[in-house]
């Protein structure tokens, strides 16, 4: 006999007796799996926008004097740099967490299903407003890429841009609250926090930092809106001290944000390795804390790096936060060692392991270039930064995101994706990011600036820009292939409940899971309950 996970009256539960789900429309969907899938689909659409714009910018840069985007380079650059991290990667992880976390902890739904559905619509409306603002005009100050304060009465695009970002920020705060409450309060009997899977831990840490940092950015947007809409002087250069206010409010959000784009990916990579090894990651004692401490440390350090390179006047904390930024690599190193340590237990090939390896390769490229840049004293305002952002903060998390979808596809879409297509998309994405990143790194070492439409400099710069454009094309092809695979791969083939030999709770239910997730969940006794049951 076991505990039924959907007793009458339980928050968010639907009793199995009324199992047949009503044909919920997209607008009224409150099942966490539907909401999560919608999040993922919308984030991929926004990635498409960012990708198309990014390719236009790459083509513009590839040929000196050619005007592909006319005089709109700055506007499109701002759109690209805002949409890719804020409207793609962060909401993608929110969507994946919304689907997977309740399954991993044995819950019938997220804590506040309708609120989570509301956050999705806030995100979509906010995202459309942000993109719409760029369609109208260039928002005053050229957007998030610049941390300089901007003042004076803004245009209509600025108002719409701020409103869009406000909605997206509020959505992310509420979604983080829902996920955190779900993890703390809705775990299955016996599943202590220390027994929760590592992806759940990474979502826990990410949500905590989002709850702390993003509201400060909301306060900054509120001040910015009042300043821009009413033509105030709050952020005017003549107003003493206000420039630091915007910089810190922006970077308290922006700095952790770029690291948090990777944190759920690290948690997903841990679960991929655990699945392949069919046992927990190595560690000392009955409670293996190492991986969990590494994930929490990564989140803590990301918050500590909030003002690492903000040119804040009299910023006495600057050396401290720079050290925090450098230390972020320590938890990543610990996790990589734990993954390697678990390698000896891997008896069979698990395809998403290749994604973990691909992400590690990109991280290694980024780390090597950080060291080289430190030795060569490269200026941060060069094309080097473009390469680093694309390799470390977009490429590696993107590869992990694709790997996570392959890993959890049976629970996400009820089928296994094609591994043939998957291998091709992985090669294209890693190669594309690698080539584009290396070309940008080399441009940076040679002193080429970033954020400019035409590089009027050495002839070799043009060749490197063409190489970067070729990398961008490979990356775009890989992402399109992934989307096609997600939509059509493996259709018509039956999938088992646990086709990957998973050992965590999400693999104890059917593929795809029923609306109430679990018929029954036995009390959890370890962090790999399915391995324990098998033995």
């Amino acid at each position: 006999m076991t505990l039924t996970q959907a007793p009458p009256g339980q928050a968010g539960a639907e009793p199995p007796a009324s199992a047949a789900p009503a044909p919920a429309t997209i607008l009224t969907a409150a099942d966490h799996k539907t909401v999560g899938r919608l999040y993922i689909a919308a984030s991929l659409l926004f990635l498409l926008v960012a990708g198309v714009v990014g390719m236009l910018l790459r083509v513009e840069l590839a040929e000196e004097g050619v005007k592909v985007v006319g005089d709109d380079f700055a506007r499109l650059f701002s759109l690209h740099s805002t949409v890719a991290p804020i409207l793609f990667l962060a909401p993608f992880w929110t969507g994946l967490a919304t689907v997977i976390v309740p399954l991993q902890i044995g819950a019938p739904n997220v804590a506040f299903p309708r609120l989570q559905a509301t956050t999705f619509w806030l995100y979509v409306v906010g995202g459309v407003l942000v993109i719409g603002a760029y369609a109208v005009d260039t928002p005053n100050g050229a957007g998030l890429a610049l941390s300089s304060p901007f003042s004076g009465r803004g245009n209509a695009a600025t108002d719409v841009w701020i409103m869009g970002l406000l909605l997206v920020s509020v959505a992310s705060v509420l979604a983080a609250g829902v996920l955190l409450t779900t993890i703390v309060k809705l775990r299955a009997p016996g599943m202590t926090l220390l027994r929760a899977p590592l992806f759940t831990w990474s979502v826990f840490a990410t949500s905590a930092v989002v709850l702390l940092a993003t509201p400060v950015f909301i306060a900054g947007l509120l001040l910015l809106y009042l300043d821009q809409h009413f033509g105030g002087t709050f952020f005017a250069a003549a107003t003493t001290g206000s420039s630091e206010v915007w910089q810190h409010m922006l970077w308290l959000y922006g700095r952790p944000e770029v690291f948090l784009l990777a944190l759920p990916g690290l948690g997903a990579a841990c679960d991929i390795v655990v699945t392949a090894a069919r046992g927990p990651l190595p560690g000392r004692g009955p409670v293996r804390l190492e991986a969990r401490v590494a994930l929490v440390l990564f989140a803590f350090l990301s918050l500590g790096a909030w003002a690492a390179d903000a040119p804040a006047r009299d910023a006495v904390v600057l050396p401290t936060v720079t050290a925090f930024t450098g230390l972020v690599i320590v938890p990543v190193g610990i996790l990589a060692l734990l993954w390697l340590g678990a390698g000896r237990d891997i008896r069979r090939f698990h395809f998403p392991l290749l994604h973990v390896a691909g992400a590690l390769l990109l991280v290694a490229i980024a780390v090597i270039n950080v060291i080289v840049a430190a030795v060569k004293d490269v200026d941060g305002g060069t094309a080097w930064a473009t390469g680093h952002l694309h390799v470390a903060f977009f490429g590696a998390p993107l590869v992990l995101a694709i790997g996570a979808v392959h890993h959890w596809a049976p629970k996400l879409v009820g089928r296994r994706l094609s591994t043939g297509l998957g291998a091709l998309e992985l090669v294209l994405v890693v190669l594309g990011v690698g080539i584009m990143g290396l070309a940008s790194y080399l441009l940076g070492y040679d002193g080429a600036p970033w954020h400019v439409a035409d590089l009027a400099g050495k002839g070799s710069w043009q060749n490197l820009e063409r190489l970067a454009a070729a990398g961008g094309a490979l990356l775009t092809a890989g992402v399109l292939l992934f989307v096609a695979n997600l939509m059509m791969g493996g259709r018509g083939k039956a999938v088992e409940d646990n086709p990957v030999g998973g050992v965590t709770l999400e693999w104890a239910t059917t593929s795809p899971p029923p609306p109430w997730n679990f018929e029954q969940v036995a009390p959890v006794r370890s962090e790999t309950p399915l391995a324990e049951a098998a033995s």
Partner: protein, 195 residues
């Protein structure tokens, strides 16, 4: 297998506080919004030659009235869970109704205060900060009113009973968060305005 039937003592206890935790997190996020504004206030006040700007004087009478209204609502909103715990639904309804009334009075007075400030949003950084604080508190108060209204309707419909009254408790906690935010704003803009 039989020993696996035993559930950990904390299992059901965790479930019963879902709304409380969610409310605390939401209130915490709201407090961080206000914390951001407070940091901006401290930064600007610290470096300003003159604070508040010349010819700016906030009416202490309106500030104190807002403060007293907030304090009164803090008492009535705590009265609600106290009464429902003792099974007194009538008193709970009265407490929640009074809280809503005081909340509406607070919003009305906040609106009036904004109209009597004597300076605009765009006049100076101080003005932008004051209006931002008023807007932030106003939005949080509207959310709090909605929360208490839901608690009132559900209590009236006998959906909140002794032992299962976390909705009333959680609504009260959120209300107190808003009050704390106002207390901070009151201290910064009124109590310390000429120091």
């Amino acid at each position: 297998m039989s020993e696996q039937l035993a559930l950990p003592a904390g299992g059901q206890q965790r479930e019963s506080h879902v709304l409380n935790l969610g409310t605390l997190l939401l209130g915490g996020a709201g407090a961080m919004v206000f914390g951001g504004l407070l940091a901006a206030y401290l930064q600007l006040r610290g470096v300003a030659d003159r604070w508040p700007p010349e010819d700016v004087h906030l009416d202490n009478y309106l500030g104190v009235m807002l403060f007293l209204t907030a304090v009164l609502s803090a008492v009535t909103v705590e009265w609600a869970p106290y009464a429902i715990k003792r099974g007194n639904q009538r008193q709970t309804l009265w407490a929640l109704t009074l809280t809503i009334g005081l909340g509406l009075a607070f919003l009305n007075l906040l609106w009036y205060t904004a109209s009597q400030l004597g300076f605009g949003v765009a006049d100076h950084a101080f003005g932008t900060l004051v209006y931002a604080a008023i807007l932030a508190i106003g939005v949080q108060m509207v959310l709090g009113l909605g929360y208490v209204l839901v608690a009132l309707v559900r209590t009236g419909g006998h959906q909140v009973v002794p032992g299962d009254h976390q909705l009333v408790r959680a609504a009260g906690w959120y209300w107190q968060w808003v009050n704390v935010c106002w207390l901070v704003a009151f201290t910064g803009f009124y109590v310390l305005q000429n120091r």
